[in-house]
């Protein structure tokens, strides 16, 4: 009996070592819960399709797969390869529009 009384207390100690959910996390959760993240994603997708970004990126994927052989390339490789290109290719006005919307969401959440 005494052994069990003396045993170290349960996870409380561990939990304090772990970080509190960061601001980023909280916002992310709020974003997802309200459904705004989906809306933003759809908006971004639509804009990028309209401006041809998606087609260009797909062409990049195809070029890569041609080089490395169709069955050899994995999704991971593709993603790793095209992500920097994709990020760079986003037109400024689309980026600005999305950022604007995100910021207004943040302000409406009233942190």
């Amino acid at each position: 009996m005494r052994a069990s009384i003396n045993r170290p207390p349960t996870p409380d100690v561990d939990e304090e070592k772990r970080d509190e959910p960061t601001l980023q996390d909280i916002i992310n959760i709020k974003l997802i819960e309200s459904g705004e993240k989906e809306n933003l994603k759809e908006l971004l997708r639509e804009r990028l399709i309209e401006c041809g970004w998606r087609d260009e990126l797909k062409a990049q994927c195809r070029a890569l797969m041609r080089k490395r052989g169709r069955s050899n390339t994995t999704v991971d490789e593709l993603v790793r390869n095209i992500t920097p290109k994709g990020r760079a290719m986003v037109p400024d006005d689309i980026k600005a529009e999305l950022l604007q919307r995100i910021q207004s969401f943040l302000m409406s959440v009233a942190l």
Partner: protein
Amino acid sequence: MGSGEVRYSSLAAGIFGDILDAVIVDVASEAHRAARLGFDRRLNTEEEEELRLSAQARAIVGESVANGDTSSKYTIDVFGQLHPAVASEIFECMNCGRPIVAGRFAPHLEKCMGKGRKARIRANANINLSQQRKVRSSPLPSYFPGGPTHTSVSSRTPPTQTSSLTPEDTQKSGLDPNDGTSEESHDDDDKGQRGRIQSGAWQVQTYL
């Protein structure tokens, strides 16, 4: 306020990056899937060839437009194929089973499915025949769209809208307060016509 906004902008940028990454992964996985499953025709043609092909296609369309060929009966598409103005392929109507020329399919469907006057009259006659076999002692409920109309079939011109069935219905039911009961469809002479219209309206209702 100022520092708050700055904080927001870096947060916003982070979130934007997140969303963008997700979209990129979508593109990558779709391209990957298309290549692996063999959908993607463009995978095999090299880039220069692709540019050449698209320029070629554009040229084909461009020259036909520039030559004023667009007025001719044939339209020319990017592959260089000619298409006649009226589709000439023949297939079977799914309603009546007859072989129909594609270009004439729409008018055929109108007659076949009963938007047109003749089809409705024909349909009414069929309904009448089938009704005469059923027991008709109980009056039909009042949602049965109004009884026989006053106007005869010949004088009424059917409206030309394609969604015509509903306005026609309300017109008919509006004109007659009577219940569309079975007794009326008994007489055949001049009431017979009205009876037919009434049941035609009924039939039309069931379509909708």
